[in-house]
Assembly symmetry: C2
Homo-oligomer: 337 residues x 2
Amino acid sequence: MLLKDLGEDHIVKQLACRLGQKHPRLIKGIGDDTSVTVQRTGRALLSTTDTLIEGVHFSLSYAPARLIGRKSLSISVSDIAAMGGVPLFGLVSIAMPGRTEKRFLDELYKGLQDVARSSKLVIVGGNTARFEGAVIVSTTVIGEAPGKMIVYRSGARPGDIIYVTGTLGDSALGLRVLQERGIGALKSRLKKAVIRHLDPQPRLAAGVGLSTARLASAMIDVSDGLLLDLKRLCEASAVSAVVELSRVPVSRTLEDYCGKEGLDGAQFSLSGGEDYELLFTSPPSAAKAIERLSKRLKLNMTPIGKIAQPTKKGSRLRVLDKDGASLKITRIGFEHF
Amino acid sequence: MLLKDLGEDHIVKQLACRLGQKHPRLIKGIGDDTSVTVQRTGRALLSTTDTLIEGVHFSLSYAPARLIGRKSLSISVSDIAAMGGVPLFGLVSIAMPGRTEKRFLDELYKGLQDVARSSKLVIVGGNTARFEGAVIVSTTVIGEAPGKMIVYRSGARPGDIIYVTGTLGDSALGLRVLQERGIGALKSRLKKAVIRHLDPQPRLAAGVGLSTARLASAMIDVSDGLLLDLKRLCEASAVSAVVELSRVPVSRTLEDYCGKEGLDGAQFSLSGGEDYELLFTSPPSAAKAIERLSKRLKLNMTPIGKIAQPTKKGSRLRVLDKDGASLKITRIGFEHF
């Protein structure tokens, strides 16, 4: 069955049926002009939007529909995590060619539903359009956090330690392998990296843990590469940063691959985007508490450098090699234009 | 200057600069991982999302960038109006080719800003992506309304009068003229219809007026054509409807055009989409109050038919001609798939 043989109303009804789960804050979900949900005083509302486009952000030659659905929602949830908030509601706009198999859409919905369930959000709105040029998924996620707990990009102070969760560079490695080998990469030795690219895990528990205990002075998720996102954090905070390359956490998978292929791991770990780890800063006094949180969540939180005074020209980013010499930074991350 | 020669961060900063107006409910707008805004207990949150795609919803051969910006936000604001709510926040995802002139984006922003200002909402989030296949604008609008005032699609009862604001069919006529004559249509005799297609006006004041005075039992905006949207309202309310064709309000422009070209005006007024008028139902006892509201807002609210009991097979839609005979309905509106 192709999508062009179904009606839009039929598709939206299916969407409502599949995604219309219950939520304590939901009054009316998909099926009216807008969704209707409950506001709660004392918590700030968080909202963010993202778009994944076939041929730009993914290729149908290697990305299964279910994982496209998962990733499209996960990356918006990751933004909520980076504020220290929890997601509540999601809205999804889907455009795809009329020749698309209904099964593809079903799988995409399943992926959305996976993340909705694991993130405890409910999908409250959506629309579909027929577009012959590409599969496009736009997501908006609305969340909340107690106002005083929210962690902005702008709170980093000289002397703060820079941390990152998990490992960096795996997603970029996964993308490389997918581009080389197609979907078969999912069965290769490098499967872990591939999955990190196709199915990133938003660090919700870490974000909430850090914000609730007021451990982070500034936070951002690593979507476009460590250096570019650190630059954004530094500019928002009007500070500089020094990163020690040897401390930047990388996976065994990435290390082995780079060793074998004679590649520089730093190009993955410093500039590779889409890891969706949390990059945050904390005063040195919080170090012990961060260690405890890290253990409790079974998620590494690695100190990778320090926040410094800004220069006269503004924020400056330095990366030191193992001898303490500054690396020359040529390409700091991924930008769309 | 082309977009590919600017950086994404530069574009987002410009977005923040241009769109970052003040709003009493805004804590942090564009420039962090998410926006941060104030929740207010006692009012329900409304949210809705839409996408406009070049080649599907508009053509660059006739749609000026500023009006693409205006329309993309207006159609989501119209959904808020159809619930009887007021818009608060907007989020915008834009994808466009790298060869796009910066001026095009500037104009598109101006259009977004026009509607943000006139609708008293603030744009709190956005992202941009380079996509060579089409210009795409996805919008999410978040609004609110006192919970008890919200007008759903599902409240229509047998005996209720069916009303519509303004006139219907102009937008479809405008589209036809644009497709025939290109952008020159904006200077033709049919300019009014063309503008209604390119720059629809969300009926915010009417929506709020009807909901606050509790005059409407059910409401929807006419985005996909009178009959299709009435069908949606009837199905949500589990009722049938009878529309008198001679009462359906059409503009002098449409009447003249159809007379001259020997066309049936009903194909525009019944099935033409994108008028973004409000279609609502009210008990007969509200008639006088609706007349007063209509006069106060200087916006026609025309009774066009009546809600009836559902049939055994469910909702049924009938359109009567001037002799009271049922018209055969062949194509009831616009669906995407």
